[in-house]
Subunit: 580 residues, 2 copies
């Protein structure tokens, strides 16, 4: 080793030792006869002291710049002015000898926790951005999480099996990335959007408990926080009910919180999809704060206020402590819900004043005792603010979800260091595509209906609940899955419901259906979005920060400048042409 | 859970317990009033007993066939005739109730350790092949090995960082698989042949110790045991010398042998490339057996035997105990070395008879005392056989390597359960391509020369030894790597030597070279072929058996029938055409 210790491990108890450290010059302070360098490596920072007793070292040090790579040898001494902000802050190295290992150009931005580099510059020089503590810490967290996932699942008898990356394209669902095959001209592999069929085949093979942490790929127009390649924790189990899967992966998430964040998670609550929609207006409620939807239909209708009278749904939330909101704040909030992204027609409020009276934008139509009933129903007390939206059921719920989250933000109820996890269960099996005029699988076509709902298959498919579940943390869906259909007859019925002809079903899922004829066990599973999970654990919102070399929203890696044109020989060998 | 226990865990101490098991019907024996089923799952086999006391169960059982999936409930009883070949062989379940979970068609081949299914059929129904114990055991071994690799490297402070799969094509080296980019028409990603540049960038980023178990891709015409996608254990370290890397990964391989195979490995010997070529004729010697090459030039020349006199090299090996080989056996061996694949012109032998005399094919030219000297030099004793080849140095070594391995096979010296590991070090930095008339990097263009050889850069580049190393187990290269060049000036010189113009070097490696200007630490690393390592640990030769869903030698997955044509809409969106 070129060093005896790292820059993060020396303490006062090491005083007097001769050591050799290697690292990057982080800061230089030159006081003439004395010079200090903060030497940085992955493990920390140690202060180097150069003085006139070791003149050569001092002069060498003086010639160094930021981010030079050096090797320094010397004695550990106690610092006069200690730094309690870093673990090595009680000591410094009085340097005897120093060697320049590699010089460095001045970096295009500061390698500091708070950098002056813009997003684009930092992406182009990602290898320098990765030197910054917060970015490195994100990837260390990711490593730790992957290790703990594997540790837990291994202990639960799961086997990690690598499924292929070069697979077959299926026209259903999102777009595949494809790979032309040189050995099979005119034919293409596809990169997996998920290893769904392979993990189900592994259950048919009797693997019983499978997992994999793997890259998946989706050729979508990228929204702000989507990556064309992303990482999943993919799992499947045999001979289980939904209950077993929920327990097993509740165990996993508890294990992660305990060993990565030192947080003991309580038992995860379970919420039906129907309740999630009713009380939160979305299937991934942020339950860090309450502010549940309250339906005011009965109380608000029939008092002459036409807006409410004509609305199928009148929904209220109670914003605790927001009763002091000024007229201006409420006007601004009203504009906010009326933006096209939200699409509400207006916002009704009721302020619960400290004197027990109510002030409302609909005073004209409702008496104080009417409003008191609203307050009672929403749980509003003195000093609270009731916000009310009305309209078509789905639209109103969607708008109220946005408003609730916004109020959560404004009232600082969405603390990134607080975690609220739950299961959302009993998803509908199918949803109706109004445009396409047909049923679509809400999860995927292999999702099993609840046995007690199977009889609705012909009469009311939209009412069938599936054995499907999502894990939601802080309003983010971090994972989801289902119990799979393993019975050929039922599967055929579902395919018919989803509008697949026998031929299409056979073409797309033929080998899986055939496999199911050779003794498929009852099975189910789920997948976690690992990038997302890491960002949540890191208390951040952007998954890109938890990926070593991410792509931008055009799917480009600006550091290596990819994708790029390839040479004509390659195209020729692949027997493909680029269209002009 | 649909079961209380697995089929592998019940013992006599569990006698009297009520249990529920699930699994596949492996065997049925029907004796009329009694019927037995061997029930199989991943964990083992448990015998089920059906009798007339539980008539319904008996009748159900009678209707089942091989590979039916069932759930059986009953009491654990002691078996009358015990089976000491399986762990559960002392007990059976007297079944009270049995439920059919799924029926099965008769599988196209027997799900047995020794199956009647041919390779092609087993690949088409890989999910059934995976049900067989030996195949499942291979993948369980693979899982265990991956877990242990991660455990060891995590303890050594390595961080697993995921590098991108969609990267940039480089024309050097083997062919890339490419992926057309829809969002960037006319441009392509490439799948990585190795994450070499990314891991070096991570060192520039200060990650210090990186590893990853990842899929890599190579679009080569597949030989028998190559796969288009394969798995590597990829590692890199900073602030290290070659010695540190050898020690760290010798530690890894010892850890694996200890915790996976329960074998305590001795310290790994190190052999220079020069010695490997001299004594074994190849850079990955199988050191499970001795039979080193002995040069007979001095002893064999000048006695009038023109073949030896005119040959630059006369090489002998001593095949212990093969002195009894018949004339027929030796003739057959002579034909073997003369096959075009080996290419020797002939084979000279000396039999060391029990009476102390020597019988040789070149008796005419050499006296008994000459042959005695050969015997002394090769260490041949009574009952041994000396085999001699001659010719051009490289060709002769190559042929003798083949002959040595063949004799190792014939004399049963290559036991798959014995492991002989070593490091081969001091590889030449470059080799000369006679055809292309230029120097090629033996490892890759970033490999550092030994500092003491750097002065040969202009005068004799072929003599420069690199800080490059391979780990060899039982004649198989399982891993290799090098100390990297981290100095810009030296790197530029090497690029020139390898015939890169400044412009080409910049185009291909520009961003890495630029990164090196911002403070690159001294670093080096290596990569293990994980598929190969698993097959070695599994005592097998075919890596395909250690991959869950492998491709055939045409790069096809015959189970999912991939690659395949894609629909015109997809091609259109990608703005590419297939050439007719």
């Amino acid at each position: 080793m070129l060093r005896t210790h790292t820059c993060g491990e020396l303490r006062l108890s090491d005083k007097g030792k001769q050591v050799i450290l290697c690292g990057w010059v982080s800061k230089i302070r030159d006081k003439g006869s004395l010079l200090w360098i903060d030497l940085r490596d992955r493990y920390g920072i140690t202060q180097l002291l150069f003085d006139e007793k070791n003149k050569e070292a001092l002069e060498n040090a003086r010639s160094y710049g930021r981010e030079f790579v050096i090797q320094a040898e010397g004695e550990i001494i106690e610092r006069v002015s200690k730094n309690d902000k870093i673990a090595t802050g009680e000591v410094e190295i009085r340097v005897l000898r120093v060697t320049l290992l590699n010089a460095a150009k001045v970096p295009p931005f500061q390698i500091e926790d708070e950098t002056d580099g813009g997003e684009e510059l930092r992406m182009k020089y990602r290898y320098l951005d990765l030197r910054r503590n917060p970015v490195r810490a994100n990837l260390e967290l990711r490593h730790k999480m992957a290790q703990e996932v594997r540790k837990y699942l291994d202990l639960q008898n799961f086997i990690e099996v690598e499924t292929p990356v070069l697979i077959k394209s299926t026209p259903e669902g999102a777009r595949d990335f494809v790979v032309p095959s040189r050995m099979n001209p005119g034919e293409f592999y596809a990169l997996p959007q998920s290893p769904q069929t392979f993990k189900q085949l592994l259950m048919v093979s009797g693997f019983d408990r499978y997992f994999q942490i793997l890259k998946c790929f989706r050729d979508e127009d990228l929204r702000a926080d989507r990556q064309p390649e992303f990482t999943q924790i993919d799992c499947e189990m045999s001979f289980v009910t939904q209950e077993d899967i929920l327990n097993t992966f509740e165990g996993l998430i508890k294990h992660l919180f305990k060993f990565v964040k030192n947080i003991e998670l309580p038992e995860l609550p379970r919420m039906t999809y129907a309740d999630a929609m009713k009380f939160y207006g979305c299937d991934k409620p942020d339950t860090r704060f309450d502010m549940k939807f309250v339906e005011l239909n009965e109380l608000a209708k029939g008092k002459g206020f036409n807006v409410f009278d004509s609305a199928p749904l009148v929904l209220a939330i109670c914003a605790k402590g927001a009763g002091e909101y000024t007229r201006k704040q409420i006007d601004e909030l009203t504009e906010w819900v009326k933006r096209p992204q939200i699409g509400a027609k207006g916002l009704v409020y009721v302020k619960c004043d400290q004197d027990g009276s109510y002030k409302s934008s609909v005073d004209k139509f409702y008496k104080q005792e009417d409003l008191a009933k609203w307050a009672a129903k929403t749980g509003a007390e003195k000093g609270d603010l009731i916000l009310i939206l009305s309209g078509e059921v789905n639209a109103c719920r969607k708008q109220m979800n946005e408003l609730r989250l916004e109020m959560g933000n404004r009232l600082n109820l969405r603390n990134k260091d607080h975690y609220s996890c739950l299961w959302v269960v009993d998803f509908p099996m199918v949803e109706y595509g109004e445009e396409e005029k047909r049923w679509f699988a809400m999860h995927h076509p292999f999702t099993a209906p609840k046995p007690e709902d199977e009889h609705l298959l012909d009469s009311d498919p939209g009412a069938i609940r599936a054995n499907a579940y999502d894990m939601v943390i802080n309003g983010v869906e971090v994972g989801g899955g289902s119990i799979r259909i393993f019975n050929k007859t039922l599967q055929a019925k579902i395919f018919t419901l989803l509008g697949f002809s026998d031929e299409e079903a056979k073409k797309q899922f033929g080998f899986l259906m055939e496999a199911f004829e050779y003794g498929a066990p009852p099975h189910g599973g789920l997948a976690f979005g690992f990038d997302r999970l890491c960002s949540l654990f890191g208390g951040a919102e952007i998954i890109r920060d938890f990926i070593a070399f991410p792509k931008n929203t055009s799917g480009r890696d600006v550091m290596i400048d990819s994708p790029s044109t390839i040479n004509p020989v390659q195209l020729n060998e692949l027997k493909i042409s680029v269209n002009q």
